[in-house]
């Protein structure tokens, strides 16, 4: 099947800055696809390459198999929900929603009727006469959504769609967007820096780092089986273990990740250490454990050179993060603990040579 969106070794350079560098990507039709990454990782530029507001310096962007190299944004069958919503302040909500139909020459009566339908779809019936300035942030976002959907785009792009909403509203909108996407069957591509948003909404995620795609996969792929140190750390703050430590903990000589929630406190286990810090998270407590008796291999290196091992022991300086679920007794800071995990929890990262 032809992918809805395809990147073929696409680069976008701004002078010497490689905002997007040789990205290959394929987004299947009907997918709810997330582009996840920190700011400056190139995810927004990729979105703008699809909508046409950026042009590739090299490579090709295809939409349903058609090269977009000479198609301006107004002719792409793609619509965008902008981060700041970009509603037209001088038009009523109804005219905002009908705008896409108006510029394509749909008769007034037909387009206004259709706009009302779209407003009903996003549960804003009766708001058509208001001006955008008279709406709340959540309502404005729904208008932006209705306006982008009215032309029945083949692909809907959403730029940090929930970024400006407060937590409660954001969670409600997550569910709503998800069910809307399932109902309409349109391909959704959204950009976010919030990993929990990506994990909960998307069925596929591309993790961006420094202009490149670090990994593409399902949310559980990304979370359980990160391909690189960056992905392991950025998505869910996993413990990243350098090869020496992996060996010391009973694995092969390779970079590995170990989820904090996969580690248990036991009486007799694989590693002992001292609790150096605790952070209460509500649903659990995140402990930092300093390996008390480190295996010889993470001490100073045999050749006398500096060791970089401690830096990769979890996200903090030199400890291993452990998530203690609520209900389990939390040891005090300074206490000695023993840690254990299922051998399968130690995930070897294929993307790190």
């Amino acid at each position: 099947m032809t992918p809805a969106v395809e990147f073929r070794s696409v680069s976008r350079h701004f002078g010497v800055v490689k905002a997007v560098d040789q990205v290959d990507l394929s987004i299947a039709e009907g997918a709810f696809f997330a582009m996840l990454g920190p700011s400056g990782s190139g995810k927004t530029t990729c979105l703008r390459l699809i909508s046409g507001f950026e042009m590739p310096s090299a490579g090709a962007v295809r939409i349903f198999g058609q090269d977009m190299g000479s198609v301006p944004p107004n002719r792409r069958h793609v619509n965008t929900v902008f981060q700041d919503y970009a509603l037209f302040p001088h038009m009523s909500v109804r005219d905002n929603v009908a705008y896409g139909l108006m510029v394509r020459g749909v008769a007034r009566r037909a387009r206004l009727a259709r706009a009302e339908e779209m407003l009903a779809l996003v549960k804003l019936d009766g708001f058509g006469d208001r001006k955008p300035a008279q709406l709340s942030g959540g309502q404005r976002q729904r208008v932006a959504l209705a306006r982008a959907l009215v032309g029945e785009p083949r692909v809907l792009l959403l730029d940090e769609p929930l970024g400006a909403l407060d937590l409660k509203l954001r969670e409600a909108m997550q569910d709503e967007l998800k069910s809307l996407q399932q109902r309409l069957g349109i391909t959704f591509v959204f950009v976010t820096h919030d990993q929990s948003e990506a994990l909960s909404m998307a069925d596929r995620i591309a993790v961006f780092s420094e202009g490149r795609v670090a990994q593409v996969g399902t949310p559980s792929d990304i979370y359980q089986r990160p391909a690189t140190r960056f992905v392991a750390d950025f998505v869910g703050s996993s413990n990243v273990l350098p090869p020496d430590l992996t060996v010391a903990l009973g694995g092969p000589r390779a970079w590995a990740s170990l989820r904090p929630e996969a580690i248990r406190l036991v009486a007799d286990g694989r590693l002992t250490g001292t609790v150096t810090g605790a952070r209460y998270l509500g649903a659990g407590t995140r402990l930092m454990v300093q390996a008390g008796a480190p295996p010889a291999s993470i001490g100073p290196r045999a050749d006398g050179g500096p060791t970089d091992a401690p830096r990769y022991l979890g996200q903090d300086e030199n400890g291993i993060a452990v998530l203690v679920p609520a209900g389990v007794a939390v040891p005090e800071v300074g206490a000695e603990v023993t840690l254990d995990w299922e051998p399968s929890a130690l995930h070897l990262m294929a993307g790190e040579a």
């Binding site: 046409g52 965008t80 902008f82 896409g100 108006m102 510029v103 306006r147």
Partner: protein, 269 residues
């Protein structure tokens, strides 16, 4: 910058005094238009009369300069409107090489003294052997009016932001539809304000005009002649009142058109 502290009395007095200093002389003009004293500027006026309005109305030499001034102001502000808006649109679109030079070029005609603009045009007409006409006056006026429109438009473009234009294109509008449906409605009041201010500026201009008018007389030039060689002083007062009103109204309108926006019209005369 706001403070809840009460301003010191001296500051309040100085500020109010400054405003009064700016306004009292203009108020005085209104008084003098009713004086019965014809030959001098005697204060207080020995008596009051309204006859000068009728005298001014019947003076045939006032009307042609008024018409010329109106025509020049209309043409100049229309040209400035087009040129200033185009320039503002280009500046809002992109950072390009030579941006600073363009912005300097636009401000230069009002940053440099009017006599330079006037003398430059006069030199060019002399070299090119161009005869004086309405067109030569417009040439000068449109040049210094561009910046007025430009300042108003550029501020509004900045407020409009890039994402609104992108949203329009994203929804299928081509460049011309975006201009008609998004840019123009949002820019409209700023352009109207800029156009009216440009009109007021042109209507009132005298320095550049004296270099580019030759033997023609605009209303300000007529007034200037009356100031240098007074004939009926109260008639000049009446014309002055008319000129004050003709410039006040566009300014007030421009102020209300751009009120509430971050920019307000006229800051850059």
């Amino acid at each position: 910058m706001r403070s809840d502290g009460r301003p010191p009395l001296a500051l309040t007095l100085a500020a109010v005094g400054g405003l009064l200093f700016l306004h009292l002389p203009i108020v005085l003009i209104f008084l003098y238009a009713f004086t019965t004293e014809e030959r001098s500027y005697q204060f207080p006026p020995p008596g009051l009369t309204a006859k000068w309005f009728a005298v001014a109305w019947n003076r045939a030499d006032i009307w042609p300069p008024l018409y010329l001034s109106l025509r020049v102001a209309a043409i100049s502000s229309a040209m400035a409107l087009v040129l200033g808006t185009l320039c503002a649109a280009a500046m809002a679109r992109a950072r390009f090489f030579g941006r600073d030079t363009v912005s300097l070029l636009v401000v230069l005609p009002i940053a440099l003294p009017g006599i330079i603009t006037g003398m430059s045009l006069r030199s060019a007409f002399a070299i090119g052997e161009i005869p004086f006409s309405t067109f030569t006056i417009v040439l000068g006026h449109a040049t210094f009016c561009i910046v007025i429109v430009y300042n108003n438009a550029v501020a509004r473009f900045r407020r409009l932001g890039a994402s609104m234009l992108e949203a329009s294109a994203d929804l299928g509008a081509n460049a011309f539809q975006t201009f008609a449906h998004v840019i123009l409605p949002n820019l409209g009041s700023a352009l109207l304000a800029g156009g009216m201010l440009a009109f007021a500026l042109s209507f009132d201009e005298v320095i550049v005009t004296t270099f580019t008018a030759g033997q023609q007389s605009t209303l300000p030039i007529w007034m200037l002649n009356e100031l240098v060689r007074p004939r009926q002083r109260p008639v000049t007062n009446v014309v002055a009142i008319v000129v004050v009103m003709a410039t006040f109204l566009p300014i007030l309108a421009a102020y209300y058109l751009t009120r509430g926006a971050e920019e307000t019209a006229g800051g850059g005369k």
